[in-house]
Every structure is written in C-alpha cells, then in structure tokens.
Symmetry: C2
C-alpha cells in the first residue's frame, strides 16, 4: 500500500469500540496498569500496549496528566477574564498572559474580545492587582466562577 493511501486510511478510520473503551478507561484513571486496561477491554497486555502506542503516535493521545484540586491547593477562586487589548498592545498583552503563572489557560478568539483567560486566585484580594497589570494595555471583563456544571470531560468518540 502506498504511503499516501495509508495516511488517508488513518485519517478516515474511526476509532473502534476497543479504542474508545481504552480512552474511556484512561480518562477515568490514567495510572491504571496495562494489565488492568487489558482486562477491561478483553485483550492481552501486549495488544493494549500496541494500541496505546498507535494512539499516541497518531497524535490522538497527547499524554497523561494529573487532575489537581485548585481549591485544596489554596486557590479558593477561579476567574474567567475577557481581554481586549488596546491598539498596538496585542503582543505585550499576550506576553503578559503567557508569563503570568496564575493564568492556567488562555485562548485567543474571534470577536470583540481577543483573549479569554482562566485565572486561579488565592483570594478576592488578588484580583485587583492582577487586573491592574493589564488595565494599562487592555479592556477587561471579569467573571467569577460560582459553580462548574460540566467539569472537563471527553468529547464524543463516536466517529473519530
């Protein structure tokens, strides 16, 4: 089979039921031993190792990470801040966001706002100094998270 065909085949090919079960099991506990994953999905350990290797190599699985409780770490508040840089300040604003350790996520988006950033804060007292840092360079609009009806979850894996 020519390389180009192989590539197309990979791109079009949906995950099978076992891949979906593996990803589901890993999303619940990524530290499960291969042997246990193997029992979950009804394959041998080497087969599961091979499937994971393929999912990683295909770029579907980027890695495995730890889910921390920000509250338990002392960050009692999460804020979502929309940021519209003033003319000429776009790059400085982005640099500021990237270099602020309390920004745990930031997307650049279409529309009137340019950035949407997620901040963790130890207390409400930290909010004002943090916003002051960008107030010279951008207009901001801040929302404090009161609840999280949907915690980060898997997208549908139906026809990947």
């Amino acid at each position: 089979m020519a390389p180009v065909l192989k590539k197309l085949r990979n791109e079009n090919q949906a995950l099978d039921e076992i891949d979906r079960a593996l990803i589901g099991a890993l999303s619940e506990n990524a530290r499960q031993p291969l042997a246990e994953l193997a029992r979950c999905v009804g394959l041998s350990a080497p087969s599961v190792a091979e499937r994971l290797r393929r999912l990683e190599e295909a770029g579907l699985v980027n890695g495995y990470t730890v889910d921390l409780d920000h509250r338990a770490l002392g960050y009692s508040l999460t804020a979502i801040v929309r940021i519209k840089p003033l003319p000429g300040q776009l790059h400085m604003v982005e640099k500021l966001l990237v270099e602020s350790p309390e920004v745990i996520e930031c997307d650049k988006v279409t529309g009137d706002d340019c950035y949407i950033a997620r901040y963790v804060l130890r207390s409400i007292d930290e909010l004002d100094p943090i916003l002051d840092k960008i107030a010279q360079r951008a207009q901001t609009s801040t929302s404090i998270v009161k609840a999280t009806p949907v915690k980060r979850r898997l997208p549908p894996l139906g026809a990947g």
Copy 2:
C-alpha cells in the same frame, strides 16, 4: 495529637519540594512508574507511593487523566459560548448544557452572562444548529478559538 490540630496542620502545611517535584513530574507524564518518579525525586519507590497516597487522600490530587487532541479526533473547531438564559429558563438551559456531549466544559459565573461553555465542533456547519437549540431559551455570544497561547497548565505550587 487531637484530630482538630492534625486537620489544621494539614490545611496550613505547604507542599514540600519533593511533593512539588512529584506533581510536576506527574503533570508531564502521569503514567510514569513509581520507580521512575522515585528516581526523579531521589526517594525510594515505597516513599513515593506513600506521598502520592497522601496527596490523593488530602484531596490535592483528584486523579489522573488522558490529554486528547481534539483536532486529531475530528473536532476541527473549539467555540467558547457565553450564555444568558431568558427569564425562567435558567434550569432548562443548564440541563441542556450538561446533556450536550459537545459541551466539554461549562462554568456558571457572576456577571451579565450566566454560563460560559466550551464546545467542540466537527465543522463550522455544526455551530448554527447547536446555537439554535439554546436560542429559544437564552441569549448567546460565541467566540471561535483561533489559537491557544496558554494550554492548561499547573498553577503555582509555591505555598499550597
């Protein structure tokens, strides 16, 4: 030591340097064997196992999860939608969001908007039908993610 004192001690106690190194190593690859984590931080495997057990029990570590590439899974777009339910529609809107599998995260926030939801989409064609579903019950404002200057990362673990 009385239980109440033990509790207070746990709450005030910062993570030590080894705990921070462990969490850092896990955030880079949560599937590393204990033996390898032990080598990273310069302790024995049983000591690392015990520290992890404590971090989990204290609720600092919620679990371990897989980091998927939404694009590689066929979701070529991410949208962040701000949602302001119409009078009397708050609960129905929240239910709709929770039950929509393409919503991979949703926070309830202070301010004029009530919810901020993150959607994954296979194509731009999916956006209109998805927004139509809530348009009867809420005002929405949609931003399409163009870039992600800061991918989900750890908050500072300095004085946890």
